[in-house]
Amino acid sequence: MANTAYEAFLELGDFHGKERQELLPRWIEAATRLGLTEKDVEYAVNEFIPEMWDLQYLGIRKMIGAMTLEAIDHAHLKEHKANGVKLVYGIIPAILTPYQAVKKAGGDKVFVSFPDMCIMNFLQPLFHKGAPLFELAETSGLTYGCRHCALNKLRIGLRLRDVVPAPHVQWSFGLVCDEATKVDEYINCLYDDEWFAVITRMPHDTMMGEVDDEIPERVAYLANAFRDAYEEVQRVTGVTVKEEHIAGALDDFQRYLMKTDVLIRAVADADPQPLRGSALVNFCHPFSMPFNTGIEHMEDALDTMIEEVKAEVAAGRGIYPKGAPKVGSYFVPYAVPWVDKVFMDNGVATASSLTMIASDKQLIPPSGNDLYQNIAEQWLRMVFGMGCHVEIDTWIEKVNRAKPDALFMGFFDYDRWLGQMHKMGARAVEKATGVPTFYIEADFFDDRDYSREALRTRIESISQVIKMRQAAKANAALRAAAPAVAAPIAGAEGTA
């Protein structure tokens, strides 16, 4: 039985008995370092987490536990460094295989992570407590609000608060994003001249009609960029990555991918839907950030979740009403589960995602034998990695396959390069697929400047439109089948 909020939080994350007791002191220390008071933890345990996450599932609780273990590990980065562990950081978006391979090669001698992603996805969706770190970055010189990406602010804030010490090497994939890699230079110039970064960037020049992974110079450039940076990472850490480590990382990736695919399909195809989209996103975190504590805890959570979802589906149970419309998105925004909740409150399910569904191209394995060439090709087929027009074409392909009742784009206002693509792409997708597409001006990491009420109103309106269209479609189908039906289905009158 939990005596304190801290213990209650660990219970919630499926830590019990001796395991909980042993973890407790490190957890309390971590919470303090991350800026969480006991009141914050109490609020999370009693109100926020139960409202945002389906705690009736052991899989969800185990997932929270896995994220907690990773956050605790991060809060003790200074100790790791003092003990001689080499710190290797990265940022999103990135292909994880090379990072995971460094961890496999170096074991406990290296700490491999994306600290900002880990802490952001712990503090915001579980405690809604990212803002103090954003503000710390802002009051220390970075212009407030919409001028900069909140993930970068959090990175600066973590450095300023001395939670995250300078790494031995930060390997930043800027690729299409300009700001993220400049944050390394910013931290180095302003706060910490030990902050050493190697940068992998990609010129922004794919022309309309070109396909990135089919341009040899582009693939070669990126392969060289990866090789160049990776050799530096190995040199600095003293870790030599061998074929078997890469193969191991790829095996982990493939295995985890197959399992998440099972979960995502089971959820997306189910009616009623048994799980929220934001939960699916969290289970996909091992694709967007390395877990220094290993993916076994997340994988255990995933295995449990799959069994629970299968059981719910078999029993015809769900957390949404039967027949609830399903809305797709780029990905259900990571760190703002309240967005998902508003859809849920309006009887609309979020599940299908343009990032979690693979395009046909993405299912083709890379063509060559050279590791870096393969990574480059893989990257250039991914979302984020492609030119705008190619990526929008893949969105159209995926929407035609998943056939959501509607699509919402947006939530990338402060992530300029991606936000712009969403704005342009929303129209193109709707025109090409006929799926109503709504663009929402908001930011998925920083919700300070967006009125919760205005967002609620917007999502309620979208949900109403979706349901009205769904009803109209059903009504039209019924009329086509049986023209003599007298009474229209409720809500179908006056539809758009």
Partner: protein, 384 residues
């Protein structure tokens, strides 16, 4: 204003009409974006180049908001917005737009133009300038640009022609340096407002004409009396770009009694401090001059420490009293650099004023702008 200055200004203004006539006569019109596009190559190809870098008005950035994110810088949005409003006389004439792509704002703007139906050739600029593979990528881009121009015109581009135009642009650079050096005087005969006009106008006339006019202007200015008092506060203007047409801020500074004696801008001005080698492979020379042999632009990495060393040199050479950082709204990497520069200048005890613009110059906006400018100039004056 002397005759040469007046004529240069008029010729620049008349350029769109001239391009219309040239197009009717069969010439290819190639508007271009960004200074990584080598003008000598365009001229040598026999096409008619025209720099797209217009800004300073509030409506064009707003005009594109149906399809462009509000949180992109106003210059990128303006470049597309003027066209959308029917106010760009040159883009509709374009046979090809060449867009250098160093950062995401111009990238997304170029994609928007593609969606509008324009043929856009993109020149990718890898930011890792200290890496050989990155430099070679840009060189390959220049080779592809050359091939594209040859395809457009149906004629090969001779190395000799490129060398000839490199020579002309070196002459333009030398003339701009000659004029610029006059700002080192105690009582300069021109300030930044006039100098940037000369820069902008030089983009819109043929290089031989620019040489003729700038020579006359330089001759005239060398003998001219000071336009600014000897004790006017001396300003270095730094940032991303002063767009063609965006002159309110510069005029405000000099009307308040300061003189802008030097600039450190990545776009919107000729990179006149650095010449291109003439002998040898001209394409390789252009590559070198633009990519390596100059102070890096902000997006390059690493860049800020090198850029600050250059800023310090300018402060010493031009006896600068204060720095004005001109910030385009939402230009995130320049905003970050400003924070770093603010700290470093503070340590040097050099005053800095940061001015952010969204090109909105309503009465409500110009009041605070004038207060900031006048207060800064006044504080420099009294602090001397």
């Amino acid at each position: 204003m002397d005759d040469a200055t007046r004529e240069l200004a008029q010729l620049a203004t008349d350029r769109p009409a001239v391009l219309r006539d040239l197009k009717a006569a069969g010439k290819k019109i190639v508007p271009y974006i960004g200074h990584f596009v080598p003008e000598p190559l365009l001229y040598a190809a026999g096409v008619e180049p025209y720099l797209i870098c217009r800004g300073g008005e509030p409506e064009p950035p707003e005009a594109v908001l149906d399809d462009m994110l509000r949180f992109l810088n106003p210059l990128a949005r303006s470049m597309a917005g003027f066209h959308l409003m029917g106010l760009d006389p040159v883009l509709p004439l374009a046979d090809l737009i060449v867009a250098s792509q160093p950062e995401c704002h111009t990238q997304r703007m170029a994609e928007y133009l593609e969606l509008q139906g324009f043929p856009v050739f993109k020149v990718g600029i890898p930011p890792n300038w200290d890496r050989a593979y990155a430099g070679e990528y840009y060189f390959t881009e220049l080779e592809q640009l050359k091939a594209k121009l040859e395809e457009l015109t149906g004629k090969p581009i001779a190395d000799e022609a490129v060398r000839e135009y490199i020579g002309y642009f070196n002459q333009i650079n030398a003339l701009l340096r000659r004029i610029d050096a006059l700002r080192k005087k105690d009582a300069p005969p021109l300030g930044g407002y006039d100098f940037i006009h000369l820069n902008h106008q030089s983009f819109f006339v043929e290089p031989q004409v620019a040489i003729e006019k700038l020579t006359a202007i330089a001759d005239s200015l060398e003998g001219a009396p000071g336009k600014f008092a000897a004790k006017s506060p001396r300003i270095l203007l730094a940032g991303h770009a002063v767009a063609v047409g965006d002159y309110l801020m510069m005029k405000g500074l000099e009307d308040a009694g300061a003189v802008i004696v030097t600039e450190m801008m990545d776009e919107g001005m000729q990179w006149y401090r650095w010449d291109t080698a003439v002998e040898g492979d001209p394409l390789r020379n252009l590559w070198r001059a633009k990519y390596l042999d100059k102070v890096p632009v902000n997006i390059f990495q690493p860049a800020w420490k090198v850029r600050f060393e250059h800023m310090k040199e300018l402060i010493a050479d031009y006896r600068v009293d204060g720095v004005v950082w001109y910030q385009l709204m939402y230009d995130e990497i320049y905003d970050m650099e400003c924070t770093v520069v603010t700290k470093w200048l503070r340590e040097m005890k050099v005053p800095l004023l940061k001015l952010e613009t969204s090109y909105e110059y309503s009465r409500e906006a110009t009041g605070p702008l004038n207060t900031k400018i006048e207060s800064f100039v006044e504080s420099l004056r009294r602090g001397r």
